[in-house]
């Protein structure tokens, strides 16, 4: 079987014809396998959804009980057989519950890695390498200028700023699902134990993380807090709220943004960010290239992001590589304001 007979891009997303399923479809389909809970990968309205318990829970939190006709939870390392094609879920290290999906048939194995990172994250299972023939990789940070360094160092920068400006509020923009909880966990690991203020749009998902055994609190809601209480505090909010009317309740805030994009100064300046924190839930250039090499894949399909540079890198190493044009995936820090990111 040729690889593109097993998996091929279609307008609805990556389709496995022999297995009768799609991976992270961007339109409603009969049978969907979902890698993780971000809204561009996990959409409502499918006939049946196969995903990790956490991903299913997140979809339920976002879309309500009836987000799909039926659901089936799968554990890391577990394999299902669908019309003779097997699919195995492995941790992708991106956010809680995120998975790579290894699709196998007739001795050919393709790994659709979804979004992934190989950096330390206390809020999710670490990335697990899966050897394969074809590796499908994202390329969000597919340029050699993106090297994300140690996230703990960035959090130390934040805490140092809090000590230099004890009367100002530190307002940290972070994507509500995953990034926010990782930043909080790192803040806690650095020894900060005061309550952290949460934007209303983050409360549900953050408490969900806690319910899965990831301690992050104590928290206080920004809603209803007096300006004087917010002085000297750390507050987390969705990136879109940083420049919103909502931010006016904070006393002379230091605006920080936790994102891999903060590596590039022009990006931070455009957003009016005063304290860029380079914390990414996607693999950086070194992570992408090291992972591709380690999978042993002889063929690489590059999806969303900076495909050109990564395809060029593969070709220099005599790996067959091509961009996979699938419309509809974005980077969670970049896209327009998703419904759940709306302000209180």
């Amino acid at each position: 079987m040729r690889p593109d007979q097993l998996l091929a891009p279609t307008p609805s997303g990556l389709c496995c014809k022999p297995g009768g399923f799609y991976i992270d479809p961007v339109r409603a389909v009969d049978r969907a396998l979902i890698t993780h809970g971000h809204s561009d990968h996990a959409r409502p309205g499918h006939g049946s959804v196969l995903a990790t318990q956490e991903t299913l829970d997140m979809m339920r939190l976002r879309y309500g009980e009836n987000f799909a006709g039926s659901t089936q939870a799968i554990r890391y390392g577990e394999t299902v057989t669908l019309d003779g094609v097997t699919a195995t879920f492995r941790p992708a290290g991106h956010v809680l519950g995120s998975a790579q999906i290894a699709v196998e048939s007739g001795g050919l194995r393709i790994v659709a890695s979804g979004d992934y990172k190989d950096a330390y994250d206390p809020t999710c299972a670490p990335f697990e390498l899966v050897k394969c023939d074809v590796f499908i990789t994202e390329a969000t940070f597919g340029l050699p200028v993106f090297r994300h360094g140690d996230a703990a160092h960035e959090v130390a920068k934040l805490l140092h700023s809090v000590s230099v400006f004890p009367e100002r509020a530190h307002l940290v923009g972070a994507y509500s699902l995953g990034k926010a909880q990782r930043v909080i966990a790192l803040i806690r690991q650095a020894g900060y134990d005061k309550p952290i203020y949460l934007h209303g749009a983050m409360e549900k998902i953050t408490y969900y993380y806690e319910s899965r055994g990831i301690p992050l609190g104590p928290f206080l809601p920004v809603r209803g807090a007096a300006k004087t209480d917010l002085a000297g505090s750390i507050a987390l909010c969705p990136p879109s709220a940083l420049n919103d009317v909502w931010a006016r309740r904070f006393p002379d805030p230091v605006t920080a943004f936790a994102s891999g994009w903060m590596r590039v100064r022009a990006r931070a300046r455009q957003g009016g960010i005063q304290l860029p924190l380079v914390v990414s839930d996607h693999a950086d250039w070194d992570g992408l290239t090291a992972t591709i090499a380690a999978t042993g894949a002889s063929e690489v399909w590059v999806t969303h992001g900076q495909e050109d540079a990564l395809v060029h890198w593969c070709q220099m190493r005599q790996l067959k590589a091509r961009p996979l044009a699938i419309v509809g995936y974005g980077d969670e820090d970049e896209g327009a304001t998703p419904a759940d990111e709306a302000t209180e």
Binding site: F127, L129, A152, F165, R248, V264, R265
Partner: protein
């Protein structure tokens, strides 16, 4: 160096002055000598060494990266130093052993077992094993003695040892492109805050000091006596004025004041003296104490007096004072050429004498200093230095008339370079800073047009959630009828309450968004008219309208006025013609409801 780099990084993003001060003071407090002294030198522009050329940086990166990847990266980042800082490959390092839990994940041992994923080049996988991060002291001391041929290899070694931010700062430093919005004055103010001192205190001892300023820090931290200034031509902190308001006149007695023209040039202090060996040392300082002698060698080198003069630097051609527009063409040039000097000859119009030889005159009253100044200037007999004339008046009405028409009140042909009058109390000593009630400035009425808001941009810091930077335009006829053409940008002049009103208008009348910028509706019968006040106009090839405003600000919101009634470009062109004819102040009658100036 990495710590200094982090300071620069933070300063580059921080717009507020007080916050910059806090960051610098915090750094100086936490950093040992001599590192912090070199940092202070870098911030005050006191470092000098051979700069690296961009071509050298390009060569270094070309030897280490794939050309296609570099081109894609440079295209994305847009800045050479930053691109190189980010993609500089870390030197080969030991691959962490499985027991250390490194390899694939970077961090604590909860990371998965390594599959030799990450090659040895991950920047965070084992920082600084072979190449050590240089200190700023290493960099400065090495560069001061390094031969040109050794620079590339040395630079590469340093880059190997630094992290991304450190590399960025190093490259900015060695290419001379350290633009982070910090003035020398600001850095000195931050240093002063280490102890119970003011910027003036630091300014007074500064001229006698050299990096890395060990004795300065020792004094500031109370570990040593105040350093003794041996500089024969030090800066003396300047005395500044308050803007006068209509209501102030009733409380002031004209007999107690003298008046002189307020010249539209650059406030300078010209100091000259002899050092211990009898060698003459002459300097020109800006009003904040920056040494600007290098920009005006024709004046600085000619100074032969023993003393300190306070005055206005102006361009004078054929005995006639030129406007600020002309002076501006001499400013901010990289090289001061003989041609530039001949074309824009600088002149000092003196209005105060702080030191006469050994004698400090600052405790004397202004009238007494003025007499000594007149004698000093006439003895000097230098065509490049003259006395700023007094404007005679006996009542405030008489002065009002003189201010309205300087040409007839004694300024003659120089009237175009007059931007108002200065009032000085006859008995006022020379007090550093901005003391109340002694010196007043009474600027001429600003120029005013009604313009239409076209684009709004979010501000910074406290204003980051407000649309507070405005681009406005006036009507101009085009092929498709009248169109608005942008003529300027302003981000102050309005009250906090007005800001809220404009912000609300912008949010409710956005027609398109471009990142932090919103295009706001601007149709003949829909839009917001601003009354814009500004101090001057000049021709500009960089602006679409061909005009550039000086010091524009929003002076009134005209929600009552439909955009179709805003001004046309021809109004501005007529103002410019008048300015160039030296009759700027006579524009005033054409303006509806002129206001008292508060600046």
């Amino acid at each position: 160096m990495n710590r200094f780099a982090e300071l620069l990084d933070r300063l580059a993003y921080e717009p507020a002055r007080n916050n910059k001060l806090r960051l610098i003071t915090d750094y100086l407090r936490a950093t040992p000598d001599p590192e912090r002294g070199w940092a202070l030198a870098a911030l005050t522009g006191a470092l000098s060494f051979r700069h690296a050329k961009p071509a050298l940086i390009r060569t270094l990166i070309a030897e280490r990266t794939d050309p296609v990847l570099f081109a894609l990266s440079y295209d994305y980042v847009g800045d050479l130093s930053e691109t190189v800082a980010l993609m500089w490959p870390a030197p080969a390092r030991r691959v962490p052993s499985p027991a250390s839990g490194g390899g694939l994940g970077r961090g604590p041992a909860t990371a998965p077992p390594p599959d030799e994923l990450r090659s040895s080049t991950s920047p965070a996988s084992g920082r600084g094993e072979e190449a050590k991060a240089p200190t700023l002291t290493d960099v400065v001391e090495t560069l001061s003695s390094l031969g040109k041929a050794e620079l590339p290899a040395q630079l590469a070694r340093w880059l190997d040892g630094l992290d991304e931010t450190g590399r960025w700062a190093l490259l900015k430093l060695v290419t001379g492109g350290l633009r982070i919005g910090v003035s020398a004055r600001l850095a000195k103010t931050a240093a002063a805050a280490l102890g119970e001192h003011t910027a003036q205190d630091v300014e007074l001892v500064w001229p006698g000091l050299a990096p890395p300023y060990l004795e300065l820090f020792a004094w500031l931290e109370g570990r040593a006596e105040r350093p003794v200034t041996t500089d024969p031509s030090p800066f003396r902190p300047a005395m500044l004025s308050h803007a006068i308001e209509e209501s102030d006149f009733s409380t002031l007695d004209p007999a107690e004041f003298t008046a002189e023209w307020k010249w539209d040039g650059i406030r300078v202090q010209a100091v000259s003296g002899r050092d211990e060996d009898g060698t003459r040392v002459s300097r020109l300082y800006s009003r904040t104490g920056e040494d600007i002698s290098k920009s005006f060698p024709d004046l600085a080198d000619a100074l032969q007096h023993d003393g300190a003069l306070d005055g206005e630097l102006l361009i004078v051609r054929d005995g006639r004072v030129q406007t600020f527009n002309v002076l501006q063409q001499r400013l901010n040039r990289k090289a001061v050429t003989a041609k530039l000097i001949a074309e824009f000859p600088v002149h000092l119009r003196a209005y105060d004498l702080l030191h006469d030889g050994e004698q400090d005159l600052r405790e004397l009253g202004f009238a007494e200093r003025r007499e000594k100044l007149a004698a000093f200037i006439s003895k000097l007999n230098d065509p490049r230095i003259d006395l700023s004339p007094l404007v005679p008046f006996d009542t405030w009405d008489a002065l009002t008339a003189a201010r309205a028409d300087p040409a007839s009140a004694g300024a003659g042909e120089d009237a175009a370079a007059v931007e108002g009058v200065m009032l000085k109390r006859r008995d006022a000593p020379y007090v550093p800073g901005r003391p109340k009630g002694l010196w007043w400035k009474w600027k001429r009425d600003p120029l005013i047009v009604d313009a239409v808001l076209m684009y709004a941009q979010r501000g910074h810091g406290k204003r980051s959630s407000y649309y507070s930077d405005y681009t406005f335009g006036v009507w101009k006829s085009g092929p498709d009828g009248d169109q608005l053409t942008p003529v300027g940008k302003a981000y102050f002049g309005f009250t906090d309450e007005e800001l809220l009103k404009i912000d609300r208008f912008v949010r409710h009348n956005t027609v398109e968004r471009f990142g932090p910028v919103r295009e706001v509706v601007h149709e003949p019968d829909q839009g917001l008219v601003f009354e814009v006040a500004f101090e001057g106009l000049q021709r500009s090839t960089r602006h679409k309208s061909g005009l550039a405003m000086r010091f524009p600000r929003i002076s009134r919101l005209r929600f009552d006025k439909p955009p179709r009634d805003a001004d046309r470009i021809e109004t501005l062109e007529r103002m410019l013609d008048r300015i160039e004819a030296g009759r700027a102040t006579t524009v005033a009658p054409a303006i509806e409801s002129p206001k008292a100036v508060v600046s």
